[in-house]
């Protein structure tokens, strides 16, 4: 009997109610300035993408292969544990990515937060958008672009640690021998992006 009563007291909570409460928390936390990192996931031709933004701007785009839970834990450690699934802050990013994948957009017009990168890597990432849609550069050319022609390997590292793939076009940087080179989302993703832009 005791068990019956405690079961009733602990009766399941309707998921619709929890969803509604979550949306209310998103709104109220955002108004109170408590969402240090807002995130959502969106579908793309390259699989699910995690999008995360601080108050400053888009801070992380992550492929499913990077393990989104892991990425969020890292954001919690490096930025703030006040991380909430709050899609509204990512609305513009999601829309522009949709347009990009539909070949209706060639540049991104978004506020970016590069605080996950430092020093030379951040410098390289800041310059990568200068490589236009459908164009490619070699790692050496990018090294020259940022005024440090000897730093070819460091450019490679900067590309490999790009926190904003797709939006910051590290996929447009190739090896000098014409092969594709590494990519955070895997070789197939890099090739698909290059093909998408070439076919536009």
């Amino acid at each position: 009997m005791n068990d019956d009563l405690t079961t009733l007291l602990s009766a399941p909570v309707d998921t619709g109610t929890l969803d509604r409460l979550h949306r209310r928390l998103e709104r109220e936390a955002d108004t109170a300035g408590l969402v240090d990192v807002a995130y959502t996931t969106v579908d793309s031709p390259l699989g699910a993408l995690l999008l995360a933004a601080t108050a400053k701007g888009l801070v992380r785009v992550a492929y499913a292969s990077e393990d989104h839970d892991q990425v969020l834990e890292t954001l919690g450690r490096k930025l703030s544990p006040r991380i909430l699934r709050a899609p509204r802050r990512l609305d513009d990013t999601a829309r522009e990515l949709d347009e990009y994948f539909a070949k209706r957009r060639t540049t991104f017009d978004l506020a970016l937060d590069l605080s996950l990168s430092h020093g030379f890597r951040q410098l390289v990432q800041t310059h990568l958008p200068e490589i236009g849609y459908g164009q490619t550069r070699t790692y050496r050319q990018v090294a020259e672009l940022v005024g440090n022609p000897k730093a070819v390997r460091a450019v490679g590292t900067a590309c490999a640690t790009n926190p904003l793939p797709v939006v910051i076009p590290c996929h447009r940087v190739l090896r000098a021998d014409g092969t594709v080179g590494g990519y955070i989302g895997g070789l197939a993703a890099k090739t698909a992006l290059l093909k998408l832009e070439a076919a536009a």
Binding site: D14, L72, R82
Partner: protein
């Protein structure tokens, strides 16, 4: 390692709502839940990594539920005069209004101890930490609360029968 707050909501959101439901009934539970998670988000960076997150959340919900009750008492209608027919309206998971009415008539300490022990699964020592007093007193309050509920809510015996 401290988890992203979203994981805290995902892991404990339902339990905290059940706790608030016992403390306040299905309707006001949502206000207390919202206040509690907003306060928790605010304080989260300062929470020690070794803390029991669920006990911490229940402690916050406890305080917020008291705030909600106080606000209700300042309002035009005392809680006791809420018409029976109003319970559960618009809340699909409100359950049996008679149950929440019976819970509402428990003395505060018993209702709280029942919520924290039988719904949240906290130990009597943890409950004593929230309510003050000893672990033994918390144990008695929880046991008395369940005993009183069994008396005042006959529906517990008819569980599973069509109503």
């Amino acid at each position: 390692m401290k988890l992203p707050f979203e994981r805290v909501v995902a892991q404990h959101g339902a339990t905290v709502l059940r706790v608030c439901r016992v403390l306040l009934g299905p309707h006001d539970a949502e206000d207390a839940w919202s206040e509690a998670f907003l306060a928790a988000l605010r304080a989260y960076p300062d929470l020690p990594e070794t803390a029991n997150v669920q006990a911490w959340l229940v402690t916050i919900a406890h305080r917020k539920a008291i705030d909600v009750l106080r606000a209700a008492k300042r309002g035009p209608l005392p809680v006791e005069e809420v018409p029976d027919s109003a319970t559960g309206l618009g809340t699909p998971d409100a359950g049996d209004p008679d149950l929440w009415a019976a819970v509402r008539h428990l003395p505060d300490k018993q209702r709280q101890a029942v919520a924290y022990h039988y719904v949240a699964g906290l130990t009597h020592a943890e409950i004593a930490g929230i309510l003050g007093g000893t672990a033994d007193a918390a144990r008695r309050a929880a046991a008395d609360g369940i005993k009183n509920l069994r008396k005042s809510y006959p529906g517990a015996h008819a569980k599973g029968a069509p109503r």
